[in-house]
Symmetry: C2
Subunit: 326 residues, 2 copies
């Protein structure tokens, strides 16, 4: 059997069984958006994400500065999904020796723009020769704490029946943007949503302060990421399709597929939150951007997406798997 057959999530389970032991100080290990451990009175939050040329970006299609921005932004998104504060990044570059120097400097300028936007400092990294360009960022930060010094964290396993589900921003834009980019359309809000994702960091932090217990970032598609919450929390979910926040740009560009892209398109880097409806109402009042209730957490298992008549909708592709063959 090869790893393409078991897929990303099957492989993670097998590897976690080998090396994913509990450890002193470890608050959250393999399985959430980021790991969390205690260091004296601080709770360190750590995550890492990789972008590979030809897989996650296309040299010639994606400007290098955008690759750099996104390599950090996708990690900021994981920290936002914990309600935590990003501090320092380690940047690993795998590069073919023939990579133009200017390309790498552009990549770093884009990464640095993102670092400034989110208050992150590059503290180190590694540079190696590789057959294709690979950018790996490890992002370290810290959890907010309550007055007793306990960490305020948005966890994937925190959903309970009766909670409402809500998302930040709009969904599906990035997936539509990638299609436009492949056709050479680099301008406009959809392409920008794909190239320069802006994870709602302040929103995640406010949610943690409001004790909203559960969130995940939407990186692999709403339904797939909601599936992680359901599996880890031992619950099911109902989504009301008509409530999904779709941008006007998405509706115009893909009138027939807007809903499918919102449900299964990857790389939105918005937050999916689950919590008591009052807490989510407070969050809506406190943050400037949209927070839209899209469904609810129910007993049992499985996710139903219902149309306005209450009929279940079906989507052929559940979401993005980083390892299965394309």
């Amino acid at each position: 059997m090869d790893v393409g057959s078991v897929g990303e999530f099957g492989l993670i389970e097998r590897l976690a069984a080998i090396a994913g032991r509990p450890a002193p100080g470890l608050v959250l290990g393999i399985g959430d958006d980021a790991a969390v451990w205690r260091a004296d009175d601080a709770f360190i939050v750590a995550t890492t994400d990789t972008m590979v040329a030809g897989v996650h970006f296309l040299p010639g299609v994606h400007p290098w500065a955008d690759v750099g921005w996104k390599a950090l932004a996708v990690n900021v998104s994981d920290v936002a999904a914990m309600g935590a504060v990003p501090d320092f990044a380690l940047v690993t570059l795998g590069l073919p020796p023939e990579t133009p120097l200017e390309a790498v400097e552009e990549l770093y300028r884009g990464l640095d723009e993102c670092a400034r936007a989110y208050g992150v400092a590059v503290a180190g990294g590694d540079i190696v020769r590789a057959p294709e360009a690979v950018v790996t960022v490890a992002l370290l930060g810290h959890a907010q704490t309550d007055s007793h010094g306990q960490p305020l964290l948005l966890r994937r396993d925190g959903a309970r029946p009766g909670y409402v589900l809500a998302v930040s921003g709009t969904l599906g834009d990035a997936a539509a943007g990638l299609e436009l980019l492949r056709r050479g359309q680099t301008e406009g809000p959809l392409a920008l949503a794909h190239s320069r994702p802006r994870p709602p960091l302040a929103l995640g932090q406010e949610a943690a302060r409001l004790r909203i217990p559960c969130a995940i970032d939407i990186s692999d598609g709403l339904l797939q990421d909601l599936g992680h919450i359901c599996r880890l929390s031992g619950v099911g979910a109902v989504i009301y399709a008509a409530t999904l926040p779709l941008s006007d740009a998405l509706r115009r560009a893909c009138p027939d597929r807007a809903l499918a892209l919102a449900c299964t398109g990857g790389e939105d880097y918005q937050l999916l939150l689950a919590g008591p409806s009052e807490a989510l109402a407070s969050l809506r009042e406190k943050v400037p951007g949209p927070v839209t209730v899209i469904g609810e957490v129910v007993e049992g298992q499985g996710i139903a997406v219902l149309d306005e008549q209450g009929r279940p909708l079906d989507f052929p592709v559940p979401g993005w798997d980083h390892l299965r063959r394309p």
Copy 2:
């Protein structure tokens, strides 16, 4: 100009100029074996290293379990070179979909063996599709502190004229071991030195407690790594060739080239320390393995390797550059 022309260290300088700003809490940024920052009362130590198939290991030559061991061990080496304590690892795997599942599980078993040997827990990571296997480990730990809560760190910029230079273990074994492995000889101490490096973590920690101010791990070859210390400390160095610790196995396997391999062969993952001779004498008493004085720090710049008659020796290849064309 391409990155292969400027090389790893030229590129690091250019990228540090773009994104390597000082930041609140950052004690040591780009340029040392690991980054260090303050989080409440703790000093977090962070490093990352990557191994790429075809560049750092050869599938078919290097067993996957050894690749896993080494991917973590090279990071432990960086933490040892700070005199710090490793705690948690994030493991990123880039894998071709056709990678056998068994290979990845073997890799993880080797990595887990190393994790247990050094008291590290795997806290998370990322798995992505890639054209060649890539293993990136980010290792997080903490600095030891003195009675005032100040961090005890071995820094690259801490060498001063009059200090002695000393190394742990023996040098050149790993480079000779790689040659043997390429010829199919997988057994014996040299091959093992290459496949399963055992960085002297306890020695580095003891050195930090003894207030030895300066160290680096020997990953790219003694002379090149000593060059980093000299450049960052603004000093020169003299090495007495006859004092270099060479193993019997190395002398037997490569009688003519043992000295050259000890000076320029990479991947020893021993520590090069610089400090007052009394402090290094204390270290020798306190740790079980060999600590050998090999030279001294002098004013000025440049490194001289002298034979027993005081004549300078010359080595054509200074050491390993991760980016320059092979």
